[in-house]
Structure formats: structure tokens, C-alpha cells
Amino acid sequence: MNCRDAETLLDGFFDGELDDERMREAALHVARCGSCDAAIAERERVQGALRATVADDIEGLDLERIWRGVEAAMAEDARVGSQSDVWWRPARSAGHVPGRRPARAPSLAREASRLDPEGEWLHRTRSGGRAMAWSVGAAGALAAGLLAFLVARGKARVEVAVDRTVPATTTVATAPFAAPAPVDQFAAAPTLPTRNSSRIAVDSVDFEGHSLAMWSEPETDTTVIWIDEDEPSVTGVR
């Protein structure tokens, strides 16, 4: 995937609306591409600003008064006896077409939380030099698709703990890098056991390679660290 391809996917990637395969492809590209990673970071910045604004607005609302109005409207509906046009009926929300996917996929944060209830899958620090700009979007996508995937450029220090419990129903794709095979040769996602026995902890990784990926197969207590020696320059153009 090059930047031109990625550009068309960035919005969907950021919103978590792509299918699994495209999410993985986009995540890989973004993790390796400075300009696309910056584009995602910009979206995060805008979204953060919006979120802060909305939060401020909500804080300023008198919800008690609004709820009193809602209750009054409901009471009026009940009095009239018309149940056919109750405006607050669920599953008929604006913009939702039955049978179609909701406009917005489950949030990355929620997906990441589901996959990582203890929030200990991925920890990272930077130690000087150029380190990857690890975006929330990429992290969410990877949490959804990979056990752990770390890419960095230049010399970086990464701290990771691959030491956790995986929810019973979680299905996580391992990320088999099979260079020279392209990324679309990722293996199918295995279903992980309820309580994995993986206790491999990678405390830190210092490396000078251009990129480094990591994934794990808890059922066999195996952690894979993949060094991509052929990673091109950090211009992001691939």
C-alpha cells in the first residue's frame, strides 16, 4: 500500500470503519509512513479539540431541566394514547437504515478496551532520536488486529509487556510478517484461550533497525519480534 492508496482509507481507518484486512493494511502503512501518521495525528488533534468543546457544552447544559421536559413529553404521549410515533423509540435513530451497518463502527477505544481490559498490552516510551509517532488510531487498529505491533524508525526504545489475560471471546489476529510476502498474507485470526499462559515479557527493546514488529501467540507462549531490515527512509513514501 502506498500513500495514495492509504489516503482513501485514512478516514475509515481513523473511525475504525474498515474491514479487518484493510484496517491491518492501513495500520501497517500508517505505522511506517510519517506523512500518513501525521495525517492521523492531525485527525486526533481535531477530534480531541471537538471532544473538549462538546464536553464543555455538555457541562453547561441543565440536564435536569431537559429530562423534566422529556418526562413531560412522555407523559403527554401516554395521555394521548398514541404509541406509534414515540420519538424516542430506539433502533430508529436518525441515519440508521435497518440491515445496514451503523454509520460509525464501534470505537477504537472501546475495541481496545475490550481486547485489553487491563490496559497493559502496550506500553511504550521514547528515548531520544526519532521515534514513531504512535497514533491512537493505529494503536486501536492494532489492538483490534494484532496482539502487539510496534514500528519505529531510527533508534528507539520500546517497552512492552506481553503479559496479560485475554478475554474468552476475543479473537485476535496474529501478524505473520512473511517478507517478501506482502502484508495481505497475514494469517487468519486464531481464537485465543480464556486464560492464556503467556508470561513472556519484553521489558525493553533497543534497536537500530528501521522497523520492528511484535506479536504473540499466547496459547503456545510464543512471542515474535520481527526486524524489518529493509525499511526505507522515513519520508513515508513507499
Partner: protein, 167 residues
């Protein structure tokens, strides 16, 4: 007569002394202990469809974790070393792997792992693995494929290790 600071200072010194003794005891316990370090190197490629018979026990795992069509065992070594003693393994392509068991925490063994290519350090890291755990380091290019190196370690006399997959 001791003032509060004197009591606190005494407690601190006592605590430090106990901690030092515990550390010494732990060190003494590890001093004579051996660690078995296993290192295996696989050459993986898509140039053929050969699967090394020596890797048969790892077939399903390799096919799950990677997507190559051919896997050949390059070398496999198992060495018993003391804590802090390095295991050096020459790898194809001028690469060099050093694995050094550093410390133990219960069943876990902490390993310093360094992978170099000539004078260039590709990776310098620390793993903590359980007896049944394996770390695979992959990606170094070799001919028209890549090398995949697996590393495992367990304390001899400690918790047992799962028989290594490679015969």
C-alpha cells in the same frame, strides 16, 4: 536514648541489611545454578515448498505465525550455562546472537538478547520467559528468505521445560 530520627535511621539500616542479606541469599542460590538456553535458527522462504523434517513438530506453529512455504533448520543449539554467562551463536550473513541469562523471578528467566550484524547492533533487548515460553526473532534477510531464531530458557533443576519441538 533515641530520638525519632534515630529510631527511623536504625530501622532503615536494619531494613537495608535485611534486604542486602536477602539479595545475597538469592545470589548465592543462583550462583551454582545452571540455565539451559536453547537457540534454533530456521531459514524461511517462499522459493520452494520444503518443510524440514526436523521442524515437523513446529509445523503448525510456524504456519500460524508466518506465511512462508519453506522452512529449513539451519542450526540448533542447547547449552547449559550459569547466570551471567553468555551463549554466543553465529548466524548466517555475518550475524551474531548473544543470549545471556540474567536473573530469575520464580519460574521466569530474564534474558539479555543481542543480535548484531557485523558491528551493527540490530537489537538489544531483555526478555523474561517462562519455562514453556519461546521468543522468536525473525526478519533478518538471508539469501531469498529470512531467518527466524527461536530462543528459550529454563532453570535446570527448576520447573521443567516443554520438550523442544525440534528433534
Amino acid at each position: 536514648m533515641h530520638g525519632p530520627h534515630g529510631i527511623a535511621g536504625g530501622s532503615l539500616r536494619l531494613g537495608s541489611a535485611v534486604a542486602a542479606l536477602v539479595a545475597l541469599a538469592a545470589g548465592a542460590a543462583l550462583a551454582g545454578e545452571q540455565v539451559q538456553v536453547q537457540v534454533g535458527t530456521v531459514y524461511a522462504t517462499n522459493a520452494s515448498e520444503h518443510f524440514d523434517a526436523d521442524l515437523e513438530a513446529m509445523r503448525s506453529q510456524l504456519s500460524r505465525l508466518f506465511r512462508y512455504t519453506s522452512y529449513r533448520l539451519v542450526k540448533k543449539e542447547s547449552r547449559d550455562v550459569g547466570w551471567g554467562d553468555p551463549v554466543d551463536v553465529e548466524l548466517p550473513g555475518g550475524r551474531f546472537l548473544r543470549v545471556m541469562p540474567k536473573s530469575a523471578g520464580g519460574e521466569r528467566v530474564s534474558l539479555d538478547v543481542m543480535l548484531r550484524k557485523n558491528q551493527h547492533v540490530l537489537m538489544d533487548t531483555e526478555f523474561t520467559v517462562r519455562p514453556h515460553g519461546t521468543v522468536m526473532v525473525g526478519g533478518p534477510k538471508h539469501e531469498d528468505g529470512v531467518l527466524i531464531i527461536w530462543i528459550g530458557a529454563h532453570r535446570l533443576g527448576g520447573p521443567g521445560v516443554r520438550p523442544q519441538a525440534v528433534r
